[in-house]
Symmetry: C2
């Protein structure tokens, strides 16, 4: 077994955590007898933008389209290029251009990690956020009129399609049906956002009728964020629009201790194009260059990549190694986990634990 992986470190701490992710992937490959052929790309970074005035080369789809997967760090360096330019010019283009319509983000309180929530122990927080990843609130349709006057008005279109909504709902219901609790919550705001969100509800209700074995209900996004804090144990699979999924997949990991550990998979379930694996955290300019970024989100994203490639045992081995290091080696934890360790130190400890399994 041999997999071709495109590696894109991006900006900021992306460049610091990606090497640790690769270190752990290699340890898993050695142990489980598969090969990873990696090719590293410097685009999707502020540095590339400064040189080329673009975030990606014009032929990026050809360059990346043949890989089995993309292992991505983080992009964004607002001092040099505004975030909406860098993100729309790279990450959001990948998600759309490769039709990675599911953004899957596990939220789990791991052993060895302290939740900021009182009385929550490993096992209490363990759910999946399934985020629509190509349409919805993240649209580039709209504009401005009466510029510079008191009548200045800005319109921004949310776009939902039946195809787009149904396919992510179906994915989420399938996931829920295969889990022991068989429970699904869809995020909505149909009481306030009066056209798109009632539509989202309507499609979710229709899908729910096709999955009688799944207990499905909805929560409005406002109360849902509150319940993540008050009753995180009540969730199993949470499916949400692009924006709501974005919010829930930062808030969830915060409740589970730190955003530094949260992984994500931008999945094209039809496998017509490569899927992309990246931590939930961003490029974190405030701590970049100091060697203290938490590499666990990146490493865990690597595990999700292996899972997607069919290397299920290796994937599980990485997650187990992460959990054992976090639980048993407090000396290597990074500052966001309450320790004084380094990115490299934590990455090496996990790689060693993978090999030792």
């Amino acid at each position: 077994r041999r997999y071709r992986v495109a590696v894109i470190p991006g900006d900021g701490i992306g460049r610091e955590v990606v090497p640790e992710g690769l270190r752990c992937l290699r340890a898993a490959a050695d142990l489980h007898g598969f090969e990873l052929e990696t090719a590293e790309f410097g685009f999707a970074s502020a540095e590339y933008w400064v040189r080329h005035g673009e975030m990606l080369p014009p032929d990026w789809r050809d360059v990346l389209g043949g890989f089995d997967a993309i292992f991505f760090g983080a992009v964004g360096w607002p001092e040099v290029v505004p975030d909406h330019v860098s993100l729309w010019g790279s990450l959001l283009r990948f998600r759309r251009g490769f039709d990675q319509y599911v953004n899957l983000r596990p939220v789990r309180l791991l052993r060895g990690v302290r939740s900021p929530l009182r009385d929550r122990e490993p096992g209490d927080i363990d759910f999946l956020v399934v985020r629509e990843n190509t349409e919805g609130e993240y649209s580039s349709v709209g504009g401005r009129i009466f510029d510079g006057t008191d009548r200045e008005t800005v319109l921004q279109e949310t776009v939902m399609t039946r195809t787009g909504v149904d396919r992510v709902l179906r994915y989420a219901f399938e996931l829920a049906a295969a889990r022991p609790r068989r429970h699904l919550t869809w995020a909505t705001k149909s009481n306030g956002i009066s056209i798109s969100m009632p539509y989202w509800d309507e499609r979710a209700e229709a899908m729910a009728r096709q999955y009688p074995q799944v207990a499905a209900d909805k929560d409005h996004i406002d109360i849902l964020t509150a319940k993540f804090v008050l009753r995180p144990d009540s969730y199993d699979v949470v499916v949400a629009s692009n924006l709501f999924g974005d919010i829930l997949s930062d808030l969830g990991p915060a409740c589970a201790g730190t955003i530094g550990i949260a992984p994500s998979a931008n999945i094209n379930p039809d496998r017509t194009w490569p899927s992309l694996f990246e931590p939930v955290h961003g490029s974190a300019p405030d701590i970049a260059g100091r060697g203290i970024a938490n590499p666990v989100g990146q490493i865990w994203s690597g595990a999700m990549m292996l899972e997607h490639l069919g290397e299920t045992t290796a994937a599980a081995g990485i997650v187990a190694a992460i959990e054992s290091v976090l639980d048993e080696q407090p000396g290597v934890l990074t500052p966001d986990l309450g320790g004084a360790g380094t990115t490299e130190g934590l990455g090496k400890a996990i790689a060693t634990a993978i090999g030792a399994a």
Copy 2:
């Protein structure tokens, strides 16, 4: 001093907590020597909708427009009328029709209340959410095309105007400038939502230049929700669009213990129309009719109403009474606060404490 107040209990627990709010307002009026003339209205309820097929009488603006303030419970009874119908037919019409463009929602961890966050004590969480309350994501513009086919597409417009954005930002900056910490955070998502949110940032940056004495910065909504959990002490004034403010003002109170205590003021700062005061919580059909709803959000909203009417001392007295009862009379706490008390019991205890001050 005599104030004319329109009272609208609405649905569900709204009808249970409003009487307790009035009880406390009367106690404050007696003590401080002003008069409250109240008129109760049954519209803005599912019951009214069943009888009239509308949520409000056609002349609602005339009926309510002359009052000094509106004291509102909660509306929504989805078994009878879909939420988007009941809300758009009442509460959201008040907010817009009376140009209550600021929704002010204090988030404070009170003595006697246990935060679900570890190690957070009263004093650690004390900030204001200033929510834009008339435009933005809550728009009724948009529609559906290709109904019932695979091409079905739904559009929903977010509308931001310079007038709408600037006036709420100005209100928030003025508030921040008058507080000891002089710190303001604006919520955004300009890295993902590429037209409206960069505009919001642009106006916030322009406003910040007019308030050099205020330390202003932005947080993207995803990380902002995470930071409410991880570092709630880092906020002072948080200003947000309609949707983001809605989310933050449920999440914030959850971090401060319970949504049952959170108050809100829908303010028309120009005083061209009455302002409306209501708890953050909704009508809670799941616990309605059981007499166990927490009345503190309603009572505290009454205090905000008195503040708005100029009865500052009476307002402060109500808040002090709430805090002393929560701290010193655990026997009267409602279930959401960990007690076994009733709506009426807690309301009476607070009214007594107000009178005893």
